[in-house]
């Protein structure tokens, strides 16, 4: 089933076409990576798909439903979730509370119940807390549950954001550079985490610079350059595409790609 489809998606900012006629057709249950040099529009693409930017042209379909122009919260309620390149952690809340917010769209109490602290609220808090703790355990942060989120190390914060995004039970998860700033050990952990997320039936779309991770984990890869599609296919197809190798993987990158398959 095609879970995410875009058709001639385009947006321009002050005369610069950040994304120009991009077509995506992502099958559910896959790991789909979007790569390209800095400025090629990867994060802009994410922002378009997650409703933060409105496209000037083209359409977006989520699980067959036309969702162009919907706001991020409307998309979240349709099963979309994402992480951010520049972490958007709720730094004043505890680690556990951060993930509890991830459960928001599944919470069912109203403002009056909340103000009066009906028993339903206590039960809801309990349920949310449990689910959040489970999500934290998956990313290995269960021990830090009570700590203020702002006190965590960078790598842990990346995992926290993933836990938070996963806690909302999405069908489609957009990960914006989950391995950025991570050492090889941490990247390996991210690799394992993504695989376990996909095993749970969540489709993962990845924006990444780490070619090793991308080539190892992706089912399909989409290469962007200057806001346009340069190539699309399996990792093998993409890395052997002459134009891609020459312009965007670069000498170093293509060597990495070769190593990833050894």
């Amino acid at each position: 089933m095609i879970i995410l489809q875009t058709d001639r998606l385009s947006v321009a900012f002050g005369g610069v076409r950040a994304i120009d006629g991009v077509n995506l057709a992502i099958e559910s249950g896959q790991v789909y990576s979007v790569i390209g040099p800095n400025g090629s529009g990867k994060t802009t693409l994410f922002n378009l798909v997650s409703g933060i930017y409105t496209p000037d042209d083209g359409s977006i379909r989520l699980a067959g439903e036309m969702v162009t122009g919907l706001t991020p919260d409307q998309l979240a309620r349709r099963g979309l979730s994402r992480t951010f390149q520049n972490l958007q952690i709720f730094s004043r809340m505890s680690v556990l509370e951060n993930v509890m917010v991830g459960r928001h769209r599944h919470e069912r109490t109203g403002i009056f119940a909340d103000l009066l602290h009906w028993p339903s609220v206590a039960r809801q808090n309990e349920a949310t807390s449990k689910a959040a703790l489970a999500a934290l355990a998956r990313v290995g942060l269960a021990d830090s549950a009570g700590r203020p989120a702002g006190s965590l190390a960078y790598g842990a914060l990346k995992r926290l954001e993933i836990a938070r995004a996963v806690a909302s039970d999405p069908t489609l998860l957009l990960l914006d550079e989950p391995a950025a700033g991570c050492n090889p050990v941490e990247t390996e952990e991210i690799d394992g985490l993504i695989r376990s997320i996909v095993r749970d039936g969540i489709t993962v779309v990845l924006v990444e610079h780490d070619m090793r991770l991308v080539m190892n984990i992706s089912d399909r890869v989409h290469v962007l350059a200057n806001g346009r599609t340069l190539a699309e296919g399996t990792p093998e197809q993409v890395r052997s595409d002459a134009a891609v190798v020459e312009a965007y993987l670069g000498v170093h990158g293509s060597q990495e790609a070769v190593c990833a398959f050894d």
Partner: protein, 314 residues
């Protein structure tokens, strides 16, 4: 479950204890008056704190709601023959409705744009109250019919001390409940990162509006009490200076600290009483306090104290 209850409502219990115990130390009836005023303002400050400290929005015109509440208990009884206690609720409803209507467009704004929009709102309320003399008695205001409950005319600072104190405890309970609820978490999330909140499915606009309405109703009830207690109301109750006083109380006590609301209100109500001889210095002092705290002690009294104690324990 029992322990959770205690921790969550601890500040409310503490306030209740203070309200009950304090009168034993009062040398004269005058102190009941001060206490009543402190609790009345603290109620408004709790509401404003939920909006500013907790949800991260700003309102520099909150006295506008104080004014709506205050004039409700004049206009209702005098022109419509309604009992005063009912008008407290009517005022809160009107304030909530006004907050809803005004909040919808302006809460889309952020930072200094929101600040100025709320400022403009507060000033408009004050201007309307000053000009519509037919309803409001104009710049000199009107006298407020005393509150009557079941044939008992409520007068006297001690009666109001207990009424205001009890209401404050109730206000604390509601606020503390809110903070540990799904809505509370959503509001805190909005404060820390609106975009992440959106992406997690939180209807940010609706949540902001909700807290704006709630904080307006807190202020309205406080305004009603103020008018009933003083027996007289003027448009100044909704004025710019009053709005800034409320903000100063939030800042002083600690943004986001519900307990701090009481501290902030206490300091800024008691100080002018202590300095009655220096009444003319009131504005200078208010301005100075605001500046000093926003520059050096931005967290406010209570969070700063809490941090020092937390530091010492380690």
């Amino acid at each position: 479950m029992r322990t959770l209850l205690e921790i969550r409502l601890l500040p409310a219990l503490a306030v209740a204890a203070i309200v009950i115990v304090l009168p034993y130390f009062f040398p004269s009836a005058y102190y009941f008056r001060i206490g009543a005023l402190v609790y009345i303002f603290a109620l408004a400050v709790v509401g404003l704190n939920l909006l500013m400290g907790f949800a991260g929005q700003v309102s520099l015109g909150h006295a506008g709601f104080l004014g709506i509440g205050a004039y409700s208990v004049v206009i209702g009884p005098v022109y419509f023959g309604l009992p005063s206690w009912l008008c407290v609720f009517v005022g809160a409803t009107v304030s909530g409705a006004v907050a809803f209507l005004v909040g919808r467009p302006i809460l889309r704004l952020k930072g200094h744009y929101l600040a100025v929009a709320t400022l403009g709102f507060g000033l408009l309320v004050a201007i309307v109250l000053t000009n519509e003399a037919g309803w409001t008695g104009g710049p000199d205001g009107m006298s407020v019919p005393r509150l009557a409950l079941f044939n008992w005319q409520v007068r006297g600072s001690d009666a109001w001390y207990w009424i205001a104190g009890t209401t404050l405890v109730g206000g604390f309970v509601l606020a503390l409940n809110l903070m540990e609820s799904p809505t509370g978490r959503a509001l805190q999330a909005i404060h820390d990162s609106e975009i992440a909140a959106l992406v997690l499915g939180i209807d940010v606009a609706r949540k902001k509006l909700t807290i704006f309405v709630i904080s307006a109703m807190y202020a309205s009830v406080a305004g009603s009490y103020l008018a009933l207690f003083n027996g007289h109301v003027t448009p100044d109750v909704a004025g710019f200076l009053r709005s800034i006083e409320l903000v100063a109380m939030v800042v002083l006590g600690g943004m986001g600290s519900i307990v701090g609301s009481l501290v902030g209100a206490a300091v800024l109500v008691v100080l002018p009483q202590v300095l009655t001889i220096f009444h003319e210095y009131e504005q200078t002092l208010l301005g100075l306090i605001l500046m000093v705290f926003m520059i050096f002690l931005r967290r406010g009294i209570v969070p700063s104290l809490a941090a020092t104690f937390a530091g010492r324990r380690r």
